[in-house]
Symmetry: C2
Subunit: 161 residues, 2 copies
Amino acid sequence: MTQTRRDVHDVASERLRAIDQRYSTGRRKLVQILSSAVHPLVTTEITAAASDLPQSSVYRNLSVLEEAGVVVKVLTTGERSAFELAEDLKGHHHHLVCVDCGKVVDIDVPEDVERLLSDGVSPAIKDAGFTLIGHRLDLMGRCDQCSRSSRAANFSTTSVK
Amino acid sequence: MTQTRRDVHDVASERLRAIDQRYSTGRRKLVQILSSAVHPLVTTEITAAASDLPQSSVYRNLSVLEEAGVVVKVLTTGERSAFELAEDLKGHHHHLVCVDCGKVVDIDVPEDVERLLSDGVSPAIKDAGFTLIGHRLDLMGRCDQCSRSSRAANFSTTSVK
DNA sequence: ATGAGTGCAAAGGCTTTGCATTAGG
DNA sequence: CCTAATGCAAAGCCTTTGCACTCAT
């Protein structure tokens, strides 16, 4: 499961150094917050977790950390971007996204699914002239709360295939 | 590849009616544009394709069309949202995303992958208390151009017409 | 006629940037 | 010391909204 490796900070420091950036206290704090999160965080959650960090610093440092390959931007539903540690720091996983409230949960999928996602899609990308790097799988669903309140206006999201 | 089915407009009209909305000329135009696109479009591309539609109308109508289940918002890379026809109108498919320039191409994946994505992930979501609705698979890679230039000089989604 | 839809412009909200200050190497 | 990094405030940019006008029913 998504376990924080113990040397996240070392890796972060190393990668920042590689692009001539320092591992400042603000950046360390961001990495700390993200490494203890169990799901991607939006900037408001991050500033809430580190109320002393100004928004501009949060954005600026997340950007630097992203360039360094320490964090990645995660796209969910809604407009705001969320962040989490890079895959090799956090471990490969996928997201379960609530189509109603946008809530995101980290999950693992069975090994055979992973294997097929890595090996079984090659022909599909050949024609497009792409070089495959990885995949991003989001399972879309409705969370407990949203299922219960089952608020009106559920015309959308018809079934898949 | 999955293309505009015969009566997209009929379906759109029908679904709008179901939520007490009219199928106005502006909305018809949006559906027309999206149905002829080969990849999700961001609002700038849409307004470019229909220069007479004011942005406010584009946003407002896309929102209505989304509620009606005619279009869906697609999140790729970058901040801006893109739109495409709903799955049952466009056909189930996935996206091939260039990690450098953000270019998005519609693709199909092998049947066995689809099957596994629909059936093989149930245990993973049980614990989280989610009801599965569908999945979203993005294959991340590097497109021809970006592979060649090996540089991240970007701008999103290529133009359609 | 009558309310939905439209268009323009202004407002909103997240994100980025300029610039002077502070801190880490 | 010297440059990177920070913090505040202002600017940017995509998106939403108010309001009067137009169109379809």
